[in-house]
Symmetry: C2
Subunit: 270 residues, 2 copies
């Protein structure tokens, strides 16, 4: 099977123009047939603080119920506009200037990610979409990938009834990774604020290069891992159980420049 890298960047990178420019430079190199391991690539991006800033100016107040953020009518329009328009097209235009054939998408475009509006239990989350990887339109994505496009996916889906939905970018990245793993040898790369999984939380240089199930059990038993990383690793193993080859997590600053060498970030695999 051909290699496919699915790379997710979060709001922390998007909010800093220099960090974003440098990251996109690395991504363009990774996705180039000349410099990029011959792998196809997908970029999934998060939101960032800019939506909140624009929302404030528009008088759209963050709406919370029991401490949980609700996506009301005004908010779904706001994120559709900011994530699907402003951020997505800025990334696409920048990548195009770097000879990367980026094509921006939301889950509604080509119906690539149909979602279900989250059912109301204790809380009505509003226009939030839950995704199942089995419903991802793999044929449409394949067509784009084989057509030499580099999909750039905003954290938005739709309900197939005409409404856009707000969906977590990590969830979109892992759903795409799992769905595409039947057709590609998928490496899922999560960029976050740390260099990787740390052996010693106090020491940024103590990055663990490789974690497999055995090692993970041992680290958990020894209580070495900081709490925040555990759900990320659990999610990574879930993706691997569902067919994804490997998950790499590390810092957007350098994670893409050394893919395949195990010199940056933490590689999670079976």
């Amino acid at each position: 099977m051909n290699k496919l890298f699915i790379v997710k960047i979060g709001g922390n990178v998007i909010d800093e123009p220099f960090a974003l420019a440098s990251f996109l430079d690395d991504f363009a190199k990774l996705s180039s047939p000349l410099t990029g391991h011959g792998a196809k690539c997908v970029l999934v991006h998060g939101g960032g603080k800019i939506a909140t800033a624009i929302g404030e100016k528009l008088g759209i107040k963050p709406n919370y119920t029991n401490g949980r953020r609700i996506t009301d009518d005004a908010t779904v329009d706001l994120v559709t506009m900011v994530y699907g328009g402003l951020i997505n097209k800025k990334i696409v235009a920048k990548l195009q200037s770097l000879e990367c054939n980026a094509l921006g998408l939301t889950g509604a475009d080509g119906n690539i990610i149909p979602a279900i509006k989250r059912p109301v239990k204790d809380i009505d989350f509003g226009w939030v979409g839950d995704v199942e990887s089995s419903r991802v339109k793999v044929e449409s994505l394949q067509l784009l990938l084989e057509g030499k496009f580099v999909p750039v996916v905003a954290p938005l889906t739709h309900d197939e009834q005409g409404h856009m939905l707000n969906t977590n970018a990590d969830t979109i990245a892992s759903s795409l990774a799992v769905a595409l793993s039947s057709y590609y040898d998928v490496r899922l790369i999560y960029c976050f604020e740390k260099k990787g999984v740390l052996e010693n939380v106090e020491d940024e240089h103590s990055v663990i290069q490789i974690i497999d199930k055995e090692k993970y059990k041992r680290l958990v038993a020894e209580e070495k891992l900081f709490a925040g990383i555990i759900p990320k690793i659990d999610n990574a193993f879930d993706a691997i159980s569902a067919g994804v080859k490997e998950v790499l997590i590390g810092d957007a600053k350098d994670i893409l420049t050394n893919v395949g060498t195990n010199t940056t970030g933490t590689l999670i695999r079976n």
Copy 2:
């Protein structure tokens, strides 16, 4: 050659939710392989007043020089967000709910419409893109069309240097029509506020069904046409000279329901 319909709707339709919903219903039928003449379709949409309304709330003041609107930094972000995000994705989500496999694009996506930032002569128009149909990426569009996607194109292009550009929707529609006319039998359909070209400006029922060059010359000589329609007809004949098969102009309310029957709108052809 296969038939291709390129349909352009303006802001007047976009600004009215009911008119838009009804138009999209007709467009979905036209683009369906079952009900739509077996033609492939592209939809190009304009902006509408919503960008101005959102801009006002964000404190972005329309910027004019010598009476001409300038696209400054704040304005290009605004239109990228509103045209490329809010309007484009609402249209896409709605079409998807009608079983039309819409895929939203700006000229930056897949580099389908590279443009030149308008050169400064008397006025610096700012981030405005001028398009040449010879530079449209026909292969990318073909790939999408043959892949059963229905491109929905926002009035935005890019400069290939990382900047989005504001481009007139009529220009985008005619550039795409001309560029694609080497590969498809292209019918360009412009929706506007009138039922078509009127023989008598006072009488909405006096729509001229077909205009060819001869008839056009005669109508101009007889001073029968109202001034506003002449540039539209000139543009239509320009597109036809450049390879487009026919141009149909008429009211968004009914123009798509009778395509091919010559019962609504005015058909302009050689």
